[in-house]
Amino acid sequence: MSKGILLFCFDTETSKYHKILRRCVNLIRKNLKLPITLVTDLATFHKIGDIGNVNYKLITPEQGNKKDAKPWLNVDRHLAYELSPYDTTMVMDIDYFAFTDNLRQFVDTGYDFLVSRQAHNMTFTDQPPRDRFGMIDMVWATILIFNRSPKSKLIFDTVKYVKKHYYHFTQLYRITARNFRNDYAFAIALQQVNGFVDYEVLPMKLHTLMPQCEILKIDDSGLVWRHDNKVMYTVDQDVHVLNKEVANV
């Protein structure tokens, strides 16, 4: 049974995601010790340079989505089932920094599909990550773990269907945001596939630094950030960094 990590990385006009990718890959190698497959486009591929033994899948990312009025190439996540070469796959956002091996064990479960439904705001202050939107609980598609079962395939097929009719589903679930978010698409698909009742989840919170947090320093063990004129740090704790300026640290 093969197990590995699938990453998506596409540079945009405003964000150099390939720089964030390098840190992410280094931490995966150090702490998770799983093979890596990277889904990227040709332009980003040429900028990445040497990051060691990585399996590449080149695609042309779908354009058109925006976040904060900037291009956001995030709508290809539904292809993970087809693109992954592994029997059990962990899809991870490249801005999720695995400073521990906590995630490694979840590729050894018997679950068909796992995703977390909760985030922990590490700043304790404004804008707590919302765990609920519209009419259903939100999931954090930052980390997805799935196998090759028919149920997993059905979930991804449903995400494709939700994506195709996204406006309809945002109206149906009273979602106010108009841009496409994988978090919403997967939450809707999971609810539909699971018969509109509760479903099995990854029982851990994703520790999150909100976009307002300025990352001051980052190394192999942890990071330092400033928020509201306060400087804080953490070590040996996985962190999802939402401020894309981390690429320049």
Binding site: V201, D236, Q237
Partner: protein, 105 residues
């Protein structure tokens, strides 16, 4: 009343509260363990349950974090894993906790 001292103490308490909350969440994340393809929390409840059940049973059933039943056939191995992960996480929390006192000095 020294307002500056009040502000200093208030800021210190706030910073400590954030650090404590993050340290606790970090410990909770570390306490999530996979055993026999199921997910458990290495918390006092699970540890006490396994310790109690293993006194009179070589095999028994417990529920995982998603309320699925799991047969435990090697209670000692499972209990050792739970205790090891619980104490590892709390030891790390304790190291951070000690720094809270130093902040006020």
């Amino acid at each position: 009343m020294d307002i500056s001292e009040l502000k200093r103490q208030s800021d210190l308490s706030y910073d400590t509260a954030i650090a404590k909350r993050n340290a606790l969440e970090k410990a909770h994340s570390r306490q999530v363990v996979v055993y026999k393809e199921h997910i458990f929390k290495a918390d006092p409840h699970t540890i006490c349950l396994v310790e109690t059940l293993k006194k009179n049973n070589d095999k028994f059933f417990v529920l995982d974090n998603n309320s699925n039943p799991v047969e435990i056939t090697d209670p000692d191995k499972f209990l050792n894993l739970l205790i090891a992960r619980n104490q590892e996480s709390l030891n790390a929390y304790h190291q951070i906790y000690k720094t809270f006192h130093k902040r006020g000095e």
